[in-house]
Amino acid sequence: MRKQVIHSEVEMMAGFRLGHEQSFTEVFDLLYHALCFYALRITKDQAAAEDIAEESFVKVWERRQNFIHFPVLKSFLYTTVRNASINWQKQSTRQKSKLIDLHSFSENSEHSKLDNIIAAETLRELYAALSNLPPQCRKIITMLFIEGKKPGQVAEALELSVANVSTQKKRGLLLLRKTLPHLFLLFSFFPF
C-alpha cells in the first residue's frame, strides 16, 4: 500500500498516457480549481473561467501520449488556459465596445503570466494541505469557517453532538495551525 502511494505521480502519468479514466480523474482533481482560478484572474468571469478550464482537459486528453512528467503536463494546461482566456477577453471586449484598445491586455506581459501561475499554484498546494485533515474534521472546519455555519447547525447537519463538533473543531484548529498558521490567525477572530 505504502509503495503505491509513493509511486502515485509516476503511476498516474503512466495511466494517463494509457488512457485510464482513474488517472484522468486524479489529474483533474489535482488541477481543475487551479486552472479555473488562473482563467478567472484573466477573464474576471466565473462561467467563462469554468468553460475554459474544462476545454483545456479535452485538449490535453487528445495529446495525452506526449506527457511523461507531471510538471510538463501542468505547464501545457496553464498555457492552454492562458491562451483561451486571452482570446475570450478579446472577443468579449469586441462585443461590448470596439473602442477599448490594447493597453487593457496587461496579461500579455511575461511577468503577469508567471504571477498568476504562482498564485494559482500556491493555492493548489495550500488546499492540498487542508485536505490532509481527517475527512470529518475537515468537513466541520469547512462548514464552520468557510461556510460560516454555527456549531449547532453543523451538529444537526452531520448528526453529531455539539460537544463532538467543538472537540473536532479544536483538533482541526490544532492541525491547521501547523499547516496554515496565517489562516489560523484569521480563524481565531471568530468567537468560540
Binding site: 505504502r2 509503495k3 509513493i6 505521480e9 509516476v10 495511466g15 494509457l18 488512457g19 485510464h20 479514466e21 482513474q22 484522468f24 480523474t25 483533474f28 481543475y32 480549481h33 482560478f37 466565473q46 469554468e50 478550464a53 474544462e54 482537459f57 479535452v58 486528453w61 501520449q65 506526449n66 506527457f67 512528467h69 510538471p71 510538463v72 501542468k74 505547464s75 501545457f76 496553464y78 498555457t79 511577468h111 508567471l114 504571477d115 501561475i117 504562482i118 498564485a119 499554484e121 500556491t122 493555492l123 493548489r124 498546494e125 495550500l126 488546499y127 494541505a129 469547512t142 468557510i146 461556510e147 501547523k178 499547516t179 496554515l180 498558521p181 496565517h182 489562516l183 490567525l185 484569521l186
Partner: protein
Amino acid sequence: MMKDDDSIERAKMDQLAFRVAYLIAGFLQENLTETEHQELDDWIGESMDNQRLFEDMTDPKNLETWLKWRENTPSVPTLDRLKSRLEFTPPAKKSVLRSFWPYVAAASILLGAAITFEWIQNKAKPENLVQTMPKDLLPGGNHAILTLSDGRTIALDSAGNGNLTQQGNVNIHKQDSGLISYQVINPSVSPGKEEYNTLTAPAGGQFRLILPDGSNVLLNAGSSLKYPTVFSGKKRLVILTGEGYFEVAKDPMFPFEVSAGTNTIQVLGTHFNINAYADEPAVRVTLEEGSVMVNQKTTLTPGWQAQISPSTEVKTIKADLETELAWKNDLFVFKQAPLDEVMRQVGRWYKCEVDFKTNITDHFNFSVSRSVPVSKLLHFLEETGSVHFSIEDKKITVMQ
C-alpha cells in the same frame, strides 16, 4: 511516439513559477528548510513586483476569499461532463488470474503478453539511451563488511547463512543475504565489558542488523555503525556515520543513544532515520514514531525533522516522510530536489563519481525503484529536457 519539444520548453519557463509557489506555500505552512527560506528571500528581494505578489499571497484576507471561492466552485459536474465527452481505455484486469485458477497456464501467457505490451509501450518512448549511455551501472545491493573487536574482518557478501562467529557470550548470525543478528548465548552469564564491532555498508551496499537488545538498524550505502556486542552500560550507545534507519526496542531503564559526528540523539523506543553523511549540508534526524531528543535540547514529535548544520542552531521542520524514508522502502523519491542532492544519492547507491560540467538550477520530482540500472533513473531526469548525462568508467558526467 513524438516528443512534444514545445511543451518541454514551456515547462522549463513555468518551472520557476511552480518553484516559487512551492516556496510560498511552504512558507505559509512553516516547513521550509534553511536553504529554501534563503531561496524565497532572494526571490522576494529581486523586485518590487515579487514583493507585492508575496504579500498578496500571504494576506489572510485574500486567502480566506480564495478558499471560499474554491469551496463555492464545484468540480463534480464538470468532471462528469468531461467523462461523458472523452474516451477511456479500460485498465487491464489482473484479478482474472485469481478467479480462473484452473487456467493459470493460459492466464500467465496472457499476463506475459500484457508485460510484453507494457514493454513495447516503454520501448516506444524516445530511446536515445543506447547512444548516450554505452555503459550502464547496476544498482547497489546487500553488501557489507563486519569488523570484529580484535580487528578481524568478515566480508558478509560471501559468508554463508548461519553462525558466523562467537564474540564472548554472543553469537553473530547471518540470517539471510542482507541481515545479521546478535544473540546472547547464555542470559544468566554476566555481560562483562562492552566490546565494539563495526558494520560497514560501502558505496553501492546496504545491510540490516539486529542488535543484542533486539533493536533493528538498516544501514544505507556509504555508512557504518559501531556498537557493542552486548549492552552492559547505563545506556545503549552506538556510533553512526552516513545514514541509518532505526527501530529501537523499548527499554526505559537503558536509554538508547546514537552518536553521529558531534551530535547525540537520545531515544526511548521508537522509529527514526538519521542522515549524517559528511557531504550533505545538514545532519537530518527524522522521527516516524515515538520521541527522540537531539543534542539534549530539542525534542521531536512524530512527523518532524531536526536539521543540524554547522553554521546554525538545531532547526525543526515538518518532515516529508515519503522522501526521507524512501530509501528504506527501496525507492528513490525526490520532490522539488536540486540536482546535486539527487546525484549525491545516485553516487552512493551506484558507486560512482559524479562530475558536474555545468550548473543545473532546475528542481526535480520523481520516484523510481532503487533496483533499476542507473540509465533508467537518468533517463527520467533527461526527459525533463533540462539535463543530459554520459557514463564512462564509473563516472557520470552532467551536461546541459
